[in-house]
Every structure is written in structure tokens, then in C-alpha cells.
Symmetry: C2
Subunit: 327 residues, 2 copies
């Protein structure tokens, strides 16, 4: 079964409703920009690249793209793909393309970038490895066939490497259930673990590598990703487990110097407070955290495997994926 | 309201069923050793000191204590209080005491030890501090008025220090809900957070201290505690947040040299796999982890605040809490 989390068809944007997965496969149809923004806010669609693609198509539903871009940009603050995708569509429209055309081009470009990320990253994976991952970074999170971190794992599996995956359940939203669901479809053996057990398995030498995605990567290599990523990174370093960040160039934000410039979204406390808590209990719910660059073994991008963001930037300048992006 | 998680009355052991908290306050009556062992296994009672007290009273329900001790000891493998309590009762019985008498003495001794832990630990807490804690270590976990780590927090609050507590939800069993429930009863302000956010708040400088309990402390200071404790310890060290372990001497196991000798219980995967996962999904569920001594700022015991276990041992030898324990 081909998963199509984001599809633009017959003038409608069709989102696989990820809040119902894996129990129920249902789609939400968006006919207006407001519906698209709501789909992003409510996490029907999630994952930095998938959010970017969704917002790009959102502009194809707009009668006033310049204005509606603001509504889309406000839907979630942390992932930079959203802004990059919207900027791309607006700029292509100025050159005479339709929004639908530009969005479709952006979508295809993310697909190609993720395919290259998967290929590049899979070279790091050896037969027999046990790989840890946090949150969901597969087709669901990217809107394309290969994901980012999970795309690397998928590719290694396609290359017949016998691998095993530790899947963080990823509280509060349990995106680990999405990752587990995708891994099952692919037939890749894995165990779900609570987020607080990741370090335990690293310390016992059961984990050979950790790979995560990113929502926004600053010029110095600090990056925002799902809450809990920072902990994984610190524990990986402490236990000499290589820690990789897999992300397309659309998740890089070279306009900000460091992680201090990244806005971390705090979401409603109800996501934390399951119904076991009495009414009136309070919670904090940061949706993301910022991991300093010093914990990252390397970044896996469509351009290769790089330790420094400067190298990613140079590779980007010399190796455009699509002809239009260098203008 | 006085919480009585473990009470021996009219020849029955009455356990507050913690699996129903905080929604429902209900008690389970145990009339046989098998029922007591089941109460421990199923986590109606939990927390190392409370498990020890429960097992001690369990022997008062036995017609064959030497034999039934084995059933109790097998109920949960990680907490050493269980063994220490059973050993105490059996040895007191040899001296002519009844099991009920000996168990009651053990219970009172834990109460006194925890009161001293609270007093000692509270000296570390300054007005305005934000304190992080993992799992539940209050009255519920100890079966006495003051808990261990939470007892320290309670005492500081009674001393009119304005404190704030970050409560890890503590997957998979959500013991954070028990901690939150106890803090509400005491009126202590707190927020619940997902376990994977603890490091985020430390990194942002929002956490001044982390205090946890222990299920078994080895002779070198390595200790077992609820899964996730190891991660907290590593993150605390990484962020220069003082990390304290509060435990009575009944949680020390000087017969084992290091954490390598501690058996970590793996519990049923169903505790991890909430009903969002399709049938057939697999999980790993280590209930505890082992934290190396190097991450511990100090141990808070009934004897004082000590950096080294040798100091705890010396204090124990020179400062008996009850007259009988030194024999």
C-alpha cells in the first residue's frame, strides 16, 4: 500500500488524517486556506517536510496568496520548511507559474531530496545494526515515498541489510505509533520503547546508532526537533552512539545563527494530561527542543554526509537539485 | 486526608490500590501470602519502601513464614527493601517476636527513617527553587507519612520554602499522576511534563535540582530506580543540575559491588503498548535502569547527606535508628 499523506487532486488538498492513525485510515479534504491551516495546527498533517508541502498546496487554494501565506505561516512556528515552501511558491508565481504548478514542483523536489538522503544515509548502516529513532520521520512526516531518518532506515532495509529499530513512543503525541505502523508495512523488525528507556538501551550497548529528523537547523548546526531529541543526543554522546540528523535543505534556516534564534512551540497542556489526571492539574508541553550542534555526529542531507553546516551550504551551492532553486 | 497505602488491621493487610489512583480510592484486602504477592506484582502497592513493608506484613498472614518468604521475594526482583524487610521479620521471629510485631516495627522504622531523610534533604532546598523529580516517591511509595525524594520536597514546603516541582509523568505506568496527586493534597505548585522534556527544562536553566528515590543501591553507589532515572542523571550532570538520591538504608544492598549485579525487571510489553498500537506490535519494557554512581551529587539518607557509600555505611554503623538493627 502506497501511503499518500498529502495529495492535491481536483482542486482539493487531501490530507491523510494522522491523528486517527494507525487505528483508522481516513482523509480530510481541504478546500480553503483556513482548512489547510487548521489541518496543520491540529496535526492532521505533521513532520516538517510534509507541513511544507501542505502549505505549498494551500496557496493553490487561495485567491489572495500573498495574504493567505501569513495564515499558513502562523499555523505552526517551529518547522522552517513551512516558510521555505511558501516562499518558493510565491516566488515561482511571480515568474508566471500557477501556485498548483509551483507546489507540485516543490513536492517533487522534496521527494527527490529524500530519496538522496536515504541513499546517502544508508551507507552508514551496516548489516546487523540496531538503530534508534525518535518521533516519526517516514512517508507520513515528509509526504513522499522516502522519509528523512526513517527513509534512511527504509533504504538500508531495501539494500537487504538486516537491521532492527528501537522506536521511541514519542510522548505526548505518540508519533512512535506512526513509525511503528510504517515499519510494519515495510516488514522491518522493531520494538517500541518508552522515551525514557532510550538511554538504558544505549548504555547496555544494544543501540548502534540513533537517527532523527529536524524541524529547523540553524547556521551553526543547532537544530530544533520533536521534544526529547535533545535528551537522545546527550545520551548518545555519553554512550558513544553515533547520532545523525537527516534532513533536506528545506529544513535548514541559515538566516539564524544558532539555536537561540529558534522559537519552540508550546502546545496545549491537554496533550500531556491524559484522563488519569484530575481536573485542574497543570502541565508544560514544549512540542520541540533545541539540540546543540556539538552532539551531532553528522548531518545527512541530499548532498551527502557532513559534519559542518558550512559543508552542507557549499554542497548546496555546487549541487542544485532542481534548476530553479539556485536563482 | 491521611494517605494509608499499607495498613495491617484485624489480621488483614489492607492495600490502597494504586493502580486505580488518582481516579478512584479503593482498597484491596489481603488475607493470604499469595494475595499479598499478587498485590505487589500487579503494582497495587509500589515503591521500594512500601513493597518492603507490605512483604513484612505478608509474613504475618503466613502459617509457614520461611517458605512463604520465597513467594514474597519472587514478587518483584529489583527493589532490595523487599528482601531486607523479609529478612528482618524472619530474624526477629527467631528471637521470639510475632511476625505482626516485627513487621509493625519495620514499618515504624521506615517511617522514622523517611522523616529523617526529609529533614536532612530539606536543608539542600532554598527558597524559590524549582525541583525536578521522576516517578513517585511520596507516602504512596513508602507507606509512611514522609516519602523519600517527595518527602524532602514535602518537608521543604512545610518549612515555608516557596518551591515549584517539575513532575515527570513516568511512562509507562504514569506514576507522575500519583506524585501530582500527592502534591495537590499538600498544596505544592507543580507542572507535569513528559519524561522527554526533563532535559529541555534543565538546559533552559528552569530546573535547580533533581531528586529521585532508589530501588537498590550497590556498594559502589550505582543504583537501580524507575526506568528513565539514568537519563535524568546524565542530563542533570550535563547541565550542572545537582542530582540527589533519597533513600533509607533499607534500599542499600552492600552485598553487591556495582550496578552490574542488579537484576532489572522487564515487565509485560502491554504496559507500553496502549491501544493505539495494532495487535502484534512488539515492545521492550524494562521497569528500571541502573545509574552509575558518578552521576550522583549525593545520597540523602536517614544519616545525613553523603557523597560516598562508604560514608553512609560508617554513619549507619555509628547511628542505629532502632536498637535491634545492629545485631
Amino acid at each position: 500500500m502506497e501511503i499518500k499523506p498529502v495529495e492535491f487532486r481536483d482542486g482539493k488538498l487531501i490530507l491523510l488524517d494522522q491523528t486517527l492513525l494507525p487505528h483508522k485510515i481516513a482523509y480530510a479534504e481541504c478546500r480553503t486556506v483556513a482548512e489547510v491551516a487548521d489541518g496543520i495546527k491540529s496535526m492532521k498533517v505533521r513532520g516538517a517536510p510534509a507541513i511544507g508541502i501542505t502549505a505549498a498546496y494551500g496557496l493553490a487554494l487561495s485567491k489572495n496568496p500573498e495574504n493567505d501565506a501569513k495564515i499558513l505561516l502562523a499555523s505552526r512556528p517551529t518547522a522552517v520548511d513551512l516558510r521555505n515552501a511558501v516562499d518558493f511558491v510565491l516566488s515561482e508565481m511571480k515568474k508566471g507559474k500557477s501556485a498548483a504548478e509551483a507546489a507540485s514542483e516543490w513536492h517533487a523536489s522534496i521527494g527527490e531530496r529524500c530519496r538522496r538522503i536515504a541513499e546517502n544515509g544508508a551507507t552508514l548502516i551496516r548489516d546487523g545494526m540496531k538503530i534508534h529513532t525518535h518521533c516519526n520521520t517516514g512517508s507520513l512526516a515528509t509526504g513522499v515515498s522516502y522519509g528523512t531518518a526513517l527513509g534512511v532506515i527504509k533504504k538500508a532495509w531495501e539494500e537487504k541489510k538486516r537491521i532492527f529499530v528501537f522506536v521511541d513512543e514519542t510522548r505526548p503525541r505518540f508519533q512512535g505509533a506512526l513509525t511503528s505502523w510504517e515499519l510494519r508495512q515495510l516488514g522491518i523488525p522493531h520494538d517500541v520503547i518508552v522515551d525514557s528507556a532510550a538511554g538504558h538501551f544505549m548504555k547496555r550497548g544494544e543501540t548502534n546508532m540513533s537517527i532523527v529528523g529536524a524541524d529547523r537547523i540553524a547556521a551553526n548546526g543547532d537544530f530544533a526537533n520533536k521534544i526529547g531529541t535533545y535528551q537522545v543526543a546527550v545520551l548518545a554522546k555519553e554512550n558513544q552512539v553515533p547520532f545523525y540528523v537527516a534532513a533536506p535543505f528545506s529544513s535548514f534556516d541559515l538566516s539564524i545563527e544558532s539555536g537561540n534564534g529558534i522559537k519552540v512551540e508550546e502546545r496545549n497542556e491537554s496533550e500531556v494530561l491524559l484522563d488519569i489526571y484530575p481536573k485542574g492539574t497543570r502541565a508544560r508541553n514544549p512540542a520541540f527542543d533545541v539540540t546543540p550542534a556539538k552532539y551531532v555526529t553528522a548531518f545527512i542531507t541530499e548532498f551527502g554526509i557532513h559534519k559542518k553546516i558550512k559543508e552542507v551550504e557549499m554542497a548546496w551551492k555546487s549541487m542544485p537539485v532542481s534548476s530553479s532553486e539556485q536563482e
